[in-house]
Amino acid sequence: MKIGFYPGCSLTGSSREYNESLLAIAKEAGIELVEINDWNCCGATAAHNLNKELSLSLPARNLAIAESEEMDELVVPCAACFNRLVMTQHELSEKKDLKKVISEKLQMPFKNEIRILNVLQFLEKHIVPRLDQLVKSPLEIDVACYYGCLLVRPQNVMKSERFEDPMSMDTIMQKLGANPIDWPFKTECCGAGFSISKTEIVGELSGKIVRNATGRGAKAIVVACPMCHSNLDMRRPAIDSYLNMKMDIPVIYITQAIALAMGLTPRQAGIQRHFVPVNLTVNR
């Protein structure tokens, strides 16, 4: 079975470590992720804020490409790209006339039937069943699993049952030997696309998240979204200035956590690319 892979723009740039760690663990598990050919940007927040048609046609082009390559499944690790692709699939399956318009623009055959997986769904399906053999050095620390908005909402489209208190990442972290804490900010917004344009909002929203996680004893925040990661990690100065104190809790991708538990080196997991230093041996 071929598993299609849509990295999205962030994974080729600011969140390289997410890409590196995902490919590393897939390789460890013996799974081949095939990057779809000539993919384009999903349009992200900008497209749906300014232009509805672009917000549908940009993701649709990628779905059509994946279909043409006869992929059964398409893994989309970036939560933002995942959300746009799924929203597009949903919108176009609900509205046939809209699908016609978009299909004409694409000039590609487009059935709109591919199964799109986010990183957690991918891990649950393909990696978790093999974890028992692959975990070499369990991560025995308290972690706060942070899901953000885009993986869980809108719940009817994302098919998330526990959208206020999701557990899938927690379950995976448990399997890695970590202790996921119960905390109320799992799905609060980090400030998303305002990283550059309204950095002070990111400082406030992400600051509340970092404060609650730290206050509840977490030693690391685990994420599955490049936007969440850059806001919580790269924007730490803005967070510190909002909270008026220096926070040193590291922020890692779930794929990095798995890579480390599998015994890969921090460099293989891309840890060196973080702004906030990562030290996961705190409560060992």
């Binding site: 740039g13 940007c41 497209a47 804020n49 300014l50 672009l54 909402r153 550059i196 973080h274």
Partner: protein, 183 residues
């Protein structure tokens, strides 16, 4: 609902019937940026219900519609399951098309524009291009001045953009859609 009403157009485009809103305010209560908004989500819904032209104008001119992060919290908790983010998408597109973007939101909109410019150019987002384009258009030349070198040192910034191959097919998607506004 009069055909001229903004609420009618909202319903046509998004399927959301604003009349179903009974003003419980749960959307606003859970909004991460509710405090900062000039018109909060439930207020915008109420104004849409009014069918009052001045209110409709006020909505399109508001800062709120651009502050919305599309985190979908409001929609996920709305007792009437009203897709407020979708309504906001519509309002944003309209506000932008009619040149009514609130001045306080200009940096947000500039960022979105820079983003789409960068995507239109290469097919994929080149973050360096985005940042430079944004800096030029927003005038915030010195923002994050130390960030870029640090990102570069961590291997997070590429100097040269990637291009997609099917430039013609891709350009078709942008045709007659998003217009570059040299403002």
């Amino acid at each position: 609902m009069d055909k001229e009403d903004l609420s009618f157009k909202v319903r046509q485009d998004t399927g959301v019937n604003v009349r179903e809103c009974y003003q419980c305010g749960k959307c606003t209560a859970g909004c991460p940026v509710g405090e900062r908004m000039d018109l909060r989500p439930s207020v915008i819904m109420r104004m849409l219900q009014s069918g009052d032209t001045a209110s409709e104008e006020e909505i399109l001119l508001s800062n709120s519609i651009w502050l919305c992060l599309t985190c979908e919290t409001c929609y996920s908790r709305c007792p009437m399951e009203l897709d407020i983010p979708k309504v906001f998408d519509y309002l944003r597109e309209k506000s932008y098309a009619e040149g009514k973007v609130n001045s306080q939101s200009s940096d947000i909109v500039t960022f979105h524009k820079s983003f789409l410019n960068a995507v239109e150019r290469n097919g994929r987002l080149h973050e360096m291009t985005l940042i430079l384009d944004y800096k030029i258009h927003s005038g915030n030349l010195f923002q994050d001045i130390t960030l870029a070198p640090e990102m570069y040192s961590k291997g997070k910034l590429h100097l040269l953009p990637e291009h997609i191959k099917d430039k013609k097919g891709f350009a078709r998607l942008f045709k007659d859609q998003f217009k570059k506004r040299k403002s």
